[in-house]
């Protein structure tokens, strides 16, 4: 997009050589290694992506790394969106929290933790948010069972 080009990403690319810039359906995306995440988000905020929009997780079950955490940022002057993708391995589902950069990431990270069991290190209060505190498992993981609610009828729990 022409308007995206107005916002210089060169500074970011120079500062973080490990980050891979790309484009997906007319929107700029960047893959960042998780150790660089906080510094990258802070740098992106400082060059103009001032508004925090979204954090969510994706479970690509049989792919490596298994999880991906997606952070959406927005710049208003000039209008541009930046999507930051962070790969998170399934055997160590953790990455640094960005609540120190954007206070609004708090609820979104809690939701991602709740749904995927991805631990955000440094989050001030990483607890379940949508599900009850004593819920077992993380329902948006692809290996979480669907529709397996036990009921008290003979044979009803076999076919799930």
């Amino acid at each position: 997009m022409t308007r995206d080009a107005a916002l210089s990403h060169d500074a970011l690319a120079e500062q973080f050589p490990a980050a891979e810039f790309g484009e997906s359906y007319g929107q700029r995306i960047v893959r960042v290694p998780r150790k660089d995440l906080v510094a990258f988000v802070a740098a992106a905020r400082d060059i103009g992506f001032r508004m925090f929009i979204d954090v969510c997780g994706v479970d690509y079950l049989r792919r490596s790394p298994r999880f991906e955490v997606v952070i959406e940022l927005l710049s208003l002057e000039p209008p541009s969106r930046l999507r930051i993708l962070v790969g998170v391995p399934g055997d160590d589902p953790s990455l640094p929290s960005i609540t120190g950069v954007f206070a609004g990431a708090d609820f979104y990270e809690r939701e991602t933790y709740d749904m995927f069991g991805i631990v955000f290190e440094g989050h001030p209060d990483l607890t379940r948010i949508l599900l009850p505190d004593d819920w077992e498992g993380h329902p948006l993981r692809k290996d979480a069972p669907v529709g397996a609610v036990p009921v008290q009828f003979k044979g009803s729990n076999q076919a799930t």
Binding site: S24, M51, D59, G104, P139
Partner: protein, 479 residues
């Protein structure tokens, strides 16, 4: 002075008169306070002792005596005066935590707020959500792209068209599918009318919350005109499943132009009434001005968008910044304000209703002719009549309604300007007929999160006004 004789017995009873020599009898000794007085307790010595069965009371059948100790009882009745209050013993730092919700009528759904109060001042706010969580993102993974709008339309139930539009635009971007101009114009028309309906409902409930009780009736009354049009067009008043990938479900109904003219007239008339009712009312000003203030920095940090951000002076409207569905061809203004308080949000929402009605009018006047959904038979089912004539059409129909259409692999984020703010959907497709992942970024979720910023160090009475002005829809927050 003697008393008159008794009518029945003819006897004259004498009472001790005032000033006579006999001393008043001693009052009987108070029975020891017991939990229940039985006949045994009232036994007078010298008479035959009654059998204490423990069952007899002096209550009788028509009376109930309290069982509690007198001072406890006084506490319960509220007649107890506690005069051991020692001001020095109560610390100034003492706070109390009050639960508001999840069944509070002014929380607009099942939102629970825990407020830590110091006197009447709020020191800390903790929003607690999840009471309406039904796992709709997971449900969305089990439904095909064809069935997707039925699911997402139930999330933000006050702006169902925006949910459907956002989902459809995202899927169309993945499909690289061009939608006919008439479908695009109908989409804008319906979503903008939905914005009007949503803002009217917001004005009604917020008016009620801050004490303008008539607003409750007025707002719903005018909204009804919009809903009647929705029902006429889509068959449903809510959760329409009208905007689908590839176009819209049906063409506009007969006489739609006249209906829209009537709606505009009704709503504009109502709007003038609301403004006359509220905007200069001193009680209303007192309750809204300087209440629930958000600074632009807080909006950026918390992802606050929509009217809340514009009230704080951030000129951001997705319809202008990232236009969708051809909305850039209509003329409209995006009003902004600078104080960021509840009053400004009222002003902006009322103005937005006017602007949206203007867009609806322009869309109606310039409504292009043509098809209301894409001709791509891989995505939209063929007309019913074609199925009887063409084997191809039958196959397409069968494929779409059993398997659904396949969407190329990819991930896309699409946002639309819902009445509450930026409604975004992040959809990942793995090349199948069902989304691999569908994440909904609801504006209310961010706004509920920003409540502590709005409410900290304000008065508890302002909670209702600030919360209502954020217009959270819990279906959107919990999904």
């Amino acid at each position: 002075m003697s008393n008159p004789p008794d009518i029945v017995t003819g006897e004259t009873e004498t009472y001790p008169q005032m000033g006579e020599s006999e001393a008043l009898p001693e009052p009987p000794e108070k029975p020891t306070p017991s939990r229940r007085r039985t006949l045994h307790d009232m036994w007078v010595s010298g008479t035959e002792a009654p059998v204490d069965t423990g069952r007899f009371t002096d209550e009788g059948a028509q009376e109930m005596l309290a069982e509690e100790e007198p001072d406890v009882l006084a506490g319960q009745r509220g007649t107890l005066v506690v005069d051991d209050y020692d001001e020095a013993a109560v610390s100034d730092e003492e706070t109390q935590i009050v639960n508001m919700g999840p069944q509070h009528p002014a929380t607009h759904g099942v939102l629970r707020l825990q407020l830590e109060l110091e006197g009447e001042t709020i020191r800390r706010v903790k929003p607690i959500i999840g009471y309406l969580h039904t796992g709709m993102e997971r449900t969305g993974e089990a439904l095909t792209f064809m069935q997707g709008p039925t699911n997402v339309t139930r999330m933000d139930y006050l702006s169902p068209f925006h949910n459907e539009l956002c989902f459809s635009l995202a899927v169309e971007r993945l499909l690289d599918l061009e939608v006919p101009p008439r479908a695009r114009a109908i989409r804008i028309l319906m979503t903008e009318l939905n914005r009007v309906a949503s803002h009217l409902l917001w004005a009604a409930t917020t008016g009620l919350d801050i004490g303008a009780l008539s607003m409750m009736i007025y707002g719903w009354r005018e909204r009804e005109a919009c809903l009647a049009f929705f029902e006429k067009t889509t068959g449903l008043r809510m959760n329409h499943n009208y905007i689908r990938p590839g176009g819209v479900a049906a063409d506009l109904p007969d006489g739609w132009e006249d209906d829209l003219v009537a709606i505009e007239e009704t709503v504009l008339e109502g709007l003038a009434d609301y403004e006359g009712l509220l905007m200069e009312n001193p009680i209303f000003l007192e309750r809204t001005q300087g209440v629930g203030v958000l600074t632009p920095e807080e909006c950026y940090a918390y992802g606050v968008t929509g009217v809340l951000a514009r009230a704080s002076g951030i000129d951001f409207d997705i319809r202008k910044t990232f236009p969708y569905s051809g909305i850039e061809q209509y003329e409209f203004d995006v009003p902004t304000a600078e104080h960021g308080d509840v009053y400004d949000r009222f002003v902006l929402r009322f103005e937005e209703v006017r602007q949206s009605l203007g867009i609806v009018r322009q869309a109606a006047e310039s409504m292009p002719l043509g098809d209301y959904r894409s001709e791509d038979r891989k995505v939209t089912p063929p007309p019913r009549a074609r199925i009887d004539q063409s084997m191809e059409a039958l196959i397409h129909h069968f494929k779409i309604f059993t398997e659904g259409f396949k969407v190329p692999e990819g991930e896309v984020y699409q946002a639309v300007e819902s009445p509450r703010g930026e409604l975004g959907m992040y959809i990942v497709s793995n090349g199948g007929a069902k989304p691999w992942r569908i994440h909904v970024r609801g504006p209310s979720f961010a706004h509920v999160q920003a409540l502590p910023a709005m409410l900290t160090d304000s008065l508890i009475a302002d909670t209702i006004a600030a919360l209502a002005s954020a217009d959270p829809v819990m279906g959107d927050v919990d999904r």
